[in-house]
Amino acid sequence: MHSVDILIVGSGIAGLTAAIAAKETGASAAIATKGAATKGNSVMAQGGINAALGNIDSDSPNLHAKDTLKSAHNLANENMVEKLCNGGIEAIEFLEKLGVQFSRIGGADTPLKSIAQRALGGASAKRACYAQDYTGLKIVHTLLESAVNLDIPIYEGLFLLELIKNSLGEVCGGLFFNFDTGKTEPIYAGKVIIATGGFGAIYSKNTNSATSTGDGLAAILRAGGELSNLEFVQFHPTTLKGSNILISESARGEGGYLVNGKGERFINELSTRDVISRAIYGQIQSGERVFLDIRHIGEEKLKQLMPQELKLIKQYANCNAAKELIEIEPAVHYTMGGASVNEKFEVTGLKGCYCIGEASNANVHGANRLGGNSLLEAAAFGLQGAKEAAKAKASKIEETELAYTLPIAKGSDNMELFKAKKTLADTLFENAGVVRDENKLSRALSEIESLNIKDLKIDDTPKHSTLLIELLELQNASILATALIKSALWRKETRGAHIRSDYPKESVEFEKNSKVNYDIIE
């Protein structure tokens, strides 16, 4: 029976940062994560992590906050944005001291001043600190190495099934499915921090790790917590057509063009992602193909700026990006919504449960997230969230009998799982995609309902069953998809990444968060 002061669920940048920060306060901390610790979405982040260091251009946390608020379309909370932008320097300093291999500039006079920064869309200064095009990878591995060295237990292969509550209704742990034993097991804790990331992978076309299925959010919802702004799903404008491999925003930041089949540019390439995705979607709807042109940047510079991406573009599209046009399409990239949290990162409706990183809706991204702000949120709020959790009163641990029936039954048709998964992912992309309307959303809702995912079962032994994990993920996907569509139906307006063709204008009436509880799913 494990018991710990602070249990962190998820091992991306948010979870690892929180674990290290929690341990530094003197608390005992442990991480539970469903797969290998480095398998999540964070390692895929390329572009950078924003902090107003002002190493290249003149910059300030105020200016950073201004850009962030502008992109949020009046849905962000100014205090939280301030916490985020002021927290940038602290976050970079924390990472620098752990040894992250940031890219550097010459002629600096302090360690932080030596970190290179580049432009990303919607930023009025070169603000994104980066590590070549492996920013997320290098941060995650450095954090993992530090966490291991600090003896923070990292339990891999634990899939969060339910949050455990005591008789006062406070969260005091989590019930997990253990991939290695095939059994369920509880971990008790005075506080639980959910850092399980977003749910972009429930869409058919997405840039996410297959692991991003919103498991922590579904558990929060089932336990009585509130989620908000789920309809704000960010599409990344430039992913390789077909494979949806991401071409990071830095390609446009460095001067890449977007052109259609006629070779015409049709949008300012440094606009925010929502604006560019919509423009590209419009071109594709009108029968055009869309390409990213980075040939003029020059092979030498490209190799230095985006070595990883050049390799992937070659592998997946058989394209030499230094000499040829790259065909692209928008795909789901990031989910702005998540668990509603207060200024101390505690989840609305769930005492003792905290949420940070992409999983949370900390009211900083609003209707559209700026490039470079996701890693910042993960690191800055990972630090701040852990400190808040450490300060708070611990939930009383009550070990209770926890019955959970795994969805396994002999003789089940395992192929049903794949069919349901594909239908859900396709219908979401088609009907709750870049451009939505009432009819499409309603159609998606009834289609998902007709899949009866909660009754699906598989035929396999539970131990080491990836099939079982896929079904548990699909159950969560179906809950989140339903909540997302209902939120999108409620928001009868167009704002940031939420585009309704039947309500094409921003409306003052909807200048507020959408909110969902579990009762709207049932």
């Binding site: 290998a36 752990l98 360690p111 001043k113 190495e145």
Partner: protein
């Protein structure tokens, strides 16, 4: 196209760009309970490494050929089919202390960045570990990825305790390597662990360590001699 997984043949009736797509095809059409791991589908999470015809490959970046024989990575306990238990990685990293042990406030330059740029590209896929022939005879050998990570910290100007990293890799570390270079060939990220190990040996010499193998030869010390090379 046919591929073999652990000696069982599967027919792939669809064009696939990667081995991972072939594995997903098998799972969704032939054998739903097949065990294999993946995450990012873009070569950066390290989860999907397997052996193809005896060579380590990432499933998500390898283009399969007819008749390919697929097996799990070597040396790790097998969980199911192609899934192995890599949890010992963390114990290994702890043992060789791959972390900044004491921060020394130092400014880095673009030249410093280049020194460890490739080493910090590691995705912890364990391809190098599986390819290493030394582990077959000495399971306690730290192996390539752990030594490359050690090198990364041992030469980082921000590390106040550089020598401590060198101290940790004298026993079951750099001197056990045969410099065969299989790790370097296996790495999907083009990390050259063999050269990192040579560099670590040179650094060790600067700190006063000597190759214990020389000593063994000169003085007739045999295998199993517990000698940490310290003078």
């Amino acid at each position: 196209m046919n591929i073999e997984i652990n000696n069982k043949s599967y027919k792939i009736k669809k064009a696939v760009a990667t081995l991972l797509e072939a594995l997903i095809y098998i799972k969704e059409n032939i054998e739903p309970v097949l065990g294999f791991d993946y995450g990012c589908k873009s070569g950066v999470c390290g989860a999907c490494a397997v052996r193809v015809n005896g060579k380590e490959k990432l499933s998500c970046t390898y283009t399969p050929q007819d008749g390919d024989k697929i097996e799990p990575l070597r040396y790790y306990p097998i969980k199911r089919d192609l899934i192995v238990d890599k949890s010992s990685q963390k114990g290994l990293l702890k043992r060789v202390k791959t972390a900044l042990l004491s921060y020394n406030q130092q400014m880095l330059t673009p030249q410093d960045e280049l020194k460890t740029q490739i080493q910090s590209d590691c995705i912890l896929c364990s391809s190098c570990y599986s390819a290493c022939p030394v582990i077959e005879v000495n399971p306690n050998f730290a192996g390539p990825f752990a030594l490359t990570k050690t090198y990364k910290y041992a030469i980082d100007a921000r590390e106040a305790k550089q020598k401590e990293h060198i101290d940790t890799i004298q026993s079951n570390g750099i001197w056990d390597c045969t410099l065969c270079g299989e790790c370097t060939l296996a790495c999907p990220q083009n990390i050259d662990s063999k050269t990192d190990i040579i560099n670590l040996r040179n650094l060790s010499a600067k700190y006063g360590y000597m190759d214990p193998n020389f000593n063994n030869m000169n003085f007739g010390g045999g295998f199993g001699l517990d000698f940490n090379g310290r003078f």
